[in-house]
Amino acid sequence: MSIQKNPSVIQKVIEASEKGCLIPSFHAEKQMNARDVQMSDIEEMLYRASREEIKDQIRDDGKDWKYALRGTNDNGDKDIRIIVVFNEPETLIITVIDKDKKEDR
């Protein structure tokens, strides 16, 4: 049986962010630190983000998907991809990549 994707991922992530419920996992926080990406960069990119459905993956528990979003921060100097998992009431960021960084291309 195929798992349906949530049709309004970006809106849901923005809502979580505005409620303070968009949280990076410990692993994602390390990636942010290594790539010089701050929470404000991620929050800014959400408002001009697009979905990267090709990077979505089914969750290990098979109940939903891990969703990929990509966009630039306000300065335009960071091209960020995040992968999120919905775990109500939180939305968890599990991966952060800066596509402008050579190692993340």
Binding site: G20, I23, P24, D36, Q38, S40, R59, D60, K66
Partner: protein, 153 residues
């Protein structure tokens, strides 16, 4: 659910030490059980009263937390927007703000926070439908607002 006695959050670019943080897990990924809005508010307040000069990451954190553009801050402090941008990019190094400019920025930030809190309180009071009159007056619980964070430079 396990609890970390201390946990250093680095997601703003500088260290914020949190105490007694519960850890949740999903999909094999551990994460802190925190509310980002509360963390930002507490961090901003701690930074503004911290006697240490602001570093680039902290300037960026405060400007974005208060939802101010480079142009808005630039106009208030009489500093070119391009200069502010370059100071934010100093990251872990101190900004080029003079003492007077930094004081002015902190006061501007405090006023912005007060405005935000004022509108938040106004909404909360406006939304109250009824005040309670219990037979016994209940103690006010403010435990959740205790100081549970430390900001490092």
């Amino acid at each position: 659910m396990r609890t970390l006695e201390t946990y250093t959050f680095k997601g703003f670019g500088f260290d914020v030490i949190l105490k007694d943080v519960a850890v949740k897990s999903v999909e094999g990924e551990d994460y802190p059980s925190i509310n980002m809005n509360e963390l930002k508010t507490n961090t901003a307040k701690a930074l503004l009263t911290n006697k240490q000069r602001l570093i680039g990451y902290q300037l960026k954190f405060l400007r974005t937390y208060l939802d101010m553009s480079f142009d808005q801050v630039s106009e208030k402090l009489h500093i070119p927007a391009s200069t502010l941008r370059s100071w934010e990019n100093k990251g872990n190094d101190f900004t080029g703000l003079s003492l007077e400019q930094e004081k002015a920025f902190r006061i501007l930030s405090i006023n912005q926070i007060l405005e935000l809190e004022k509108s938040r309180f106004n909404i909360e009071v406006t939304l109250i439908k009824e005040f309670q009159t219990p037979s016994k007056v209940v103690a006010l619980d403010i435990g959740s607002t205790s100081e549970s964070f430390i900001v490092n430079g």
